[in-house]
């Protein structure tokens, strides 16, 4: 962009949001160069902080006029580089669009601006006996806009489903500045399920400026068990057994020893046993009368799978502490090394034991500090690698191990992302999973919303220098045999 063109764009943005909401000093931009994935960085041209969807329309129009791309951003907790502005783009930071516009306890609906923090919504809904069910571990910080864009999940996704099951309607500002409403408050949408496309669209289909969300009643009773296992693999067997038994737990999470050590050294210490090889957190919820029997069944199944001890949270406080520990796990890993690579992949539950064993072997082979804390009930793995991005050799080993892990998961019949999205992180792994034709269909959808690729360009789709060979038959999820 030429200097006068830059100045014109800045003027237009300033006119749209006011001087106080436009950031363009080098230092202010520097901190927007990455999200939770620190090794993919690019500095934006400017950052704007709108308060209303009208302002978003103005911003997007100004960008369109200047031919400059834009990237919506929430709290920047994303783990796939989604909120990073490539190509000198403008970051549309939604943090100030943080109003809950309506809570309707009869329709069980919330209407919110995109910058509302996930946990804040549940807090506002709580007096009505309701909550927003998707509960990513980052829920104290991440925003509804980010949840929608990444189709985020959480521990309770096992029973309640990920974000997509809780979005009824959206207001969306398209890349040309048109404002559209998709979906319906009553649920269901005649014609194409466009809400379904935008949820998980990673900000490439436009800026979500308002969301109408489903609220879920708080369960009458909750019980949380800790199964203490000698190793991760036996904990995985317990997960299989619980699911096979026909129970529908609210959550089944596994935390391994390395993670427990880090968490117990942190402010989120909850008294998780330091002598455990792995802990299975199993939560059951529902009518109070039904729970004691379910607790006993889970207890028995864990014992049979090799649990050395089983504890039950004594009260709501202790349960809260367990969950805080689980959810603080990623941050706590920062105690081991300056950086953490949080991987995210899904395998069929039945494959969990073998895949976990192989993942640990990959970590060892590369001499890396790898730990596992994951949504076991969903088969959603998070192998975490602690590293130091200043060490080029280690960085290379981290990336190599990451590739092997993703390939392993695809071979096992899984997919390359469960909930963190593709972003810039995994775009070049897309061919592992999708044929050129598959990707072509996705591209055409994107083109229909944003023909000039101005909304969060450079994400999801493979770059031309894709490091994984495109394979027309590479539909990993159709393979059933497991040959690791």
């Amino acid at each position: 962009m030429t200097t006068p063109a830059r100045a014109r764009l800045l003027d237009a943005l300033r006119a749209a949001v006011g001087a106080d909401a436009l950031l363009c000093r080098a230092e202010e931009l520097f901190v927007y160069e990455c999200d939770g994935l620190t090794h993919h960085a690019a500095r934006p041209f400017a950052v704007v902080l709108p308060r209303t969807s009208d302002e978003v329309v103005e911003i997007v129009r100004a960008c369109a006029k200047a031919g400059v791309p834009f990237v919506p951003r929430g709290a920047g907790t994303g783990l796939s580089g989604g909120a990073v502005a490539l190509a000198d783009g403008v970051v549309i930071e939604c943090a100030r669009m943080n109003r809950v516009l309506e809570i309707d306890p009869v329709d069980r609906v919330a209407v919110v601006q995109p910058g509302v923090v996930n946990a804040d919504l549940s807090k506002v809904a709580a007096p009505h006996g309701l909550h927003f069910a998707p509960d990513p571990s980052s829920q104290l910080a991440c925003t509804i806009g980010g949840n929608v864009a990444e189709n985020s999940g959480g521990p309770h996704t096992l029973k309640y489903g990920s974000t997509t099951a809780h979005v009824l309607a959206l207001e969306l500002v398209l890349a040309d500045g048109d404002r559209v409403r998709i979906g319906s408050r009553a649920g269901g949408e005649p014609g194409y399920d466009l809400v379904g496309a935008v949820v998980g669209g990673e900000g490439t289909l436009g800026v979500v400026t308002e969301a109408t969300l489903r609220l879920t009643p708080l369960p009458e009773a909750v019980e949380t068990l800790l199964g203490i296992f000698p190793d991760v693999v036996s904990a995985c067997h317990a997960v299989g057994a619980v699911i096979r038994s026909g129970l529908v737990p609210a959550a089944l999470e596994i935390v391994d020893r390395r993670t427990i050590e880090a968490v117990e050294a942190s402010v989120y210490a909850a008294g998780l046993p330091l002598d455990a090889g792995a802990v299975l957190i199993a939560e059951l919820d529902g009518p109070a009368v039904a729970l004691p029997r379910q607790v006993e069944r889970v207890r028995a199944l864990c014992a049979r799978a090799g649990a050395t001890r089983i504890e039950v949270a004594r009260d709501a406080d202790e349960r809260q502490r367990f969950w805080k520990a689980r959810k603080g796990a990623f941050g706590a890993m920062g105690r081991l090394a300056p950086d953490l690579y949080v991987h995210d992949a899904v395998v069929p539950r039945s494959k969990l034991p073998e895949v976990l064993a192989e993942i640990c072997a990959i970590g060892d082979r590369h001499g890396l500090r790898l730990s596992n804390v994951f949504h076991a009930g969903d088969g959603n793995l998070h192998p975490n690698i602690s590293f130091d991005r200043r060490d080029a050799d280690e960085m290379a080993r981290v990336l190599a191990a990451g590739t092997e892990i993703l390939e392993l998961c695809v071979r096992a019949g899984g997919v390359i992302s469960g909930e963190h999205g593709i972003g810039t992180e995994k775009q070049d792994f897309m061919p592992l999973l999708f044929s050129p034709d598959d990707l072509g269909a996705m591209r055409r959808l994107r083109d229909a919303f944003d023909p000039d690729h101005r909304s969060n360009p450079g994400k999801i789709f493979p770059t031309t220098r894709a490091c994984v060979e495109s394979n027309p038959k590479a539909r990993g999820y159709e393979r059933v045999s497991f040959d690791a």
Binding site: G76, A141, A265, D339
Partner: protein, 430 residues
């Protein structure tokens, strides 16, 4: 100050601290300046990233970086939220020291601040003299006149100024106050610099409550300002000098426990080990906040009912700086008839932050307004908080936002519940 082998150990420590952050963002919602602005650069994660950028030589230590370091309240809410154990408080102090070293901060606010911090606060006699002047001005209502004549910006600052208490409350504490009833132990008392002048009543109440609970209270000679304000303002050298004086004073007094009733001072005293690695640790480990101490030892509950509706508000330097959260609440609940009501924003900074309310009045008032809204809906008779800066700020907030509540130190509430100073009538003190 990009980091090379020739760097000072402090600069390297700063850099190493910045590496503890894994950029998870869990601290964002707890940060008052982020909540107000939504700006990443005004968030803990952003500030750490700036520090790291400067340390790695990717960013110059510029005015913009300096601004963010001073817009930070230093409340350390981010530390309590951080699973990675980032020591943000020390990182901030080192960044500020670095800003001071390169001389980036200028202007009248900076000059007044450094004059007060270097030449008045550390010297009890000068501080006393200065405060007496203010007291005289207030006595003849000159301040009210000034309030009317002053320009708007200054007017807010004058309104914030606390009323200087009567000389009776500013009377020095006895060197030793004997335990009342059965003796349970002996403790040292940290007096502070501003406390005896502006909150002498709180100091007297603290000593009385300790004595009533069976402790001999030793007011160690030679102690003085804790140095917190200096350290927060980037003047580590003065802070260390002041700390050394306190280390010596309490060593000479031969006490195993040092009681502080000002959260900011207590938090700073607990860090003395870091400022003075060789000698400071002993003092740092002995420091207890008065509420923490009484809670651990077991309070002798006041005998008569003291019915009040009370909101407890956490001082940042108690909650985040010393991880004391439950103790003061438990103590207050033991006062018969007292009803403790929760309020939503109790854990958030009030915006006082040392002299922040003078240097950044706008942000300070925005942060305060949020808390006052939460307090207004709880509608208490008394707001209890254990730090002088917070008490001043909340008193100003009560006036500005039209609340009916009285703002008191929890120890004052306990003292009143016991019947205060005069009713017991046991000479010379209780």
């Amino acid at each position: 100050m990009s980091i090379g082998p020739k760097e000072t150990t402090e600069a390297i420590a700063l850099y190493t601290r910045s590496l503890d952050c894994v950029h998870c963002g869990l601290c964002l919602p707890t940060c008052p300046t982020y909540r107000e602005t939504g700006r990443e650069s005004s968030s803990p994660r952003g500030r750490i990233y700036l520090a790291r950028g400067v340390a790695e030589g990717k960013l110059a230590l510029s005015d913009a970086v300096a601004e963010e370091m001073y817009l930070c309240l230093g409340c350390r809410a981010c530390e309590t939220a951080c699973p990675s154990g980032v020591r943000f408080g020390s990182l901030l102090e080192q960044m500020r020291a670095e800003v001071e070293r390169v001389g980036l901060r200028r202007g009248p606010a900076k000059r007044i601040e450094s004059f007060l911090l270097r030449h008045v606060v550390p010297h009890p006699r000068r501080l006393r003299a200065a405060i007496s002047v203010v007291r005289a001005i207030q006595a003849v209502r000159l301040d009210a006149l000034a309030l009317r004549l002053a320009p708007a910006g200054l007017r807010e600052r004058i309104a914030l100024a606390p009323r200087v208490p009567h000389a009776r409350d500013r009377a020095p504490l006895p060197r030793l106050v004997r335990a009342h009833g059965e003796r349970r132990g002996r403790v040292g008392f940290f007096v502070g610099c501003i406390m005896p002048e502006l909150f002498g009543d709180v100091n007297h109440a603290t000593v009385r409550v300790l004595a009533r609970n069976g402790f001999d209270v030793v007011v160690a000679e030679g102690q003085g300002c804790c140095g917190a304000l200096h350290a927060h303002a980037g003047d580590r050298e003065t802070a260390k000098r002041l700390a050394a004086r306190n280390v010596a004073a309490f060593a000479a007094a031969g006490v195993d426990v040092v009681i502080s009733n000002a959260a900011g001072c207590g938090a700073a005293l607990r860090e003395v080990g870091e400022w003075l690695p060789a000698t400071g640790d002993v003092l740092a480990r002995r420091v207890r906040d008065v509420s923490e101490f009484l809670d651990a030892e077991g309070l002798r509950p006041p005998p008569t009912p003291f019915p009040r509706r009370v909101c407890y508000d956490d001082p940042c330097h108690l909650l985040h700086g010393q991880q004391v959260e439950a103790a003061p609440r438990r103590l207050l609940r033991q006062i018969p008839g007292l009803v403790l009501v929760a309020h939503d924003d109790a854990a958030a900074c009030c915006g006082a932050a040392g002299i922040y309310n003078l240097t950044h009045p706008e942000m300070s008032r925005a942060v305060l307004a949020r808390k006052m809204r939460s307090l207004a809906s709880a509608d208490p008779d008394v707001i209890a908080t254990g730090n002088p800066g917070c008490m001043m700020q909340l008193r100003a907030g009560v006036v500005e936002h039209g609340l009916r509540a009285e703002v008191l130190h929890p120890v004052t509430l306990m003292d009143r519940a016991y019947g205060g100073g005069r009713s017991v009538g046991e000479p010379p003190y209780l």
